[in-house]
Symmetry: C2
Subunit: 224 residues, 2 copies
């Protein structure tokens, strides 16, 4: 294996940008680093890729440790490999963006790791190149939200149209006309109205909707 051994190896890590939706706002999970280098700086949560796991496995492991959740929606943001991006050693990292329903999240874990939900427009400076990763993740989210069914990952299985609209507004950063929005939703058949009513947000009550994955898989083209 001389072909390989002429070359040098490097550490590879994964970093997770975890988005949630709460109080009508997009939030992401950051914490203060509890190790050197960079102890005490705000940072994304990450981990090294082991010799016996794929990049996706590593990201899933990190996310599981962080949230107690499996089968989280996750998408690669990209690889970051500047020589001195990590102040300690040469580490190449692959960033993953995850979307979770905050209600599923175990808040004990949040406290255990000293994590906070922060709005993207109020992010403090982050460790190393993590701010770049966050910007790139948000750019990707914005591009994908109108052609991929991402928004449902941020909501409970049953949701109202007002909630759904708020998710779109939070990600796109602009207000949407309610009637036009609902008109477009009606044209999408994998967003199904249920018989159920949510009475928690208004006195009148709002119809609950559901994302029908099977219908989506049958015809995964839409435009919102």
């Amino acid at each position: 294996m001389t072909y390989y051994s002429e070359h040098s190896k490097v550490w590879v890590s994964v970093d997770c940008i975890v988005f949630g939706f709460e109080d009508g706002k997009l939030k992401l999970l950051i914490g203060k680093r509890q190790m050197d280098p960079g102890r005490g700086e705000w940072s994304l949560y990450g981990g090294f890729v082991g010799a016996e796991e794929s990049l996706e496995d590593a990201a899933n492991r990190v996310l599981y440790n962080l949230t107690g959740l499996k089968k989280i929606y996750m998408k690669q943001v990209g690889a970051f490999g500047a020589i001195d991006r990590d102040p300690g050693e040469r580490v190449i990292t692959v960033a993953y963006c995850a979307l979770i329903n905050v209600k599923d999240y175990d808040d004990n874990l949040r406290e255990k790791y000293g994590l906070q939900w922060v709005a993207p427009d109020k992010l403090p400076p982050l460790y190393s190149d993590h701010s770049t990763m966050v910007r790139k993740a948000i750019t990707l989210l914005r591009k994908r939200i109108s052609t991929e069914p991402l928004s449902f990952n941020l909501l409970p299985p049953l949701f109202t149209l007002t909630q759904l609209q708020k998710v779109y507004e939070a990600i796109l950063g602009e207000e949407i006309d309610k009637r036009n929005f609902r008109k477009r939703i009606k044209a999408i058949d994998f967003i199904e109205k249920t018989e159920l009513i949510d009475k928690t947000t208004s006195k009148r009550g709002a119809a609950l909707y559901r994302f029908n994955k099977k219908l989506y898989d049958d015809d995964p083209t839409f435009k919102l």
Copy 2:
């Protein structure tokens, strides 16, 4: 540095998907592997990332070796990290997509490395997961071609509207109406008509156009 040394290092490589445009068709550069494992299989061209170079530097180095060109348009496609993706050892790779003007390309290098220009729809099976990378690169190209000025990288500095249209048709894989296409081009002010005429492709001659990068940078929003 115990924090790092607990973890294992891996080899990291870059692989380049080099697109060119020739005879009205999109082509990409592949070659037969000249080393084990996989000797003789069709493959993208790649190389290991050195300890003292960034991912981008490594990709540029590989592209320079391959084409003799510097300052090539290049975009990261993504990181690929399945455990056994490389049949020899555990290697994580980062794929980069490059666009070049075939006329600038040094054909001696092509012969030296035994490379071939192949149309994407006539690709033979490729080494390891290289076919997956190519598919992803093409998907990205298609998404970006209408909102980013990619097409000019595949053409000489002066080009005719027919050439430009052929590039769009090749990437999108569909025919475009000539009048509608030219109407849209007229609305884009960073595509400038010059006084020059190309007489090589028709007896009448066709006006040559130019991509004005300064105008584009002033207002980098367009839609074609």
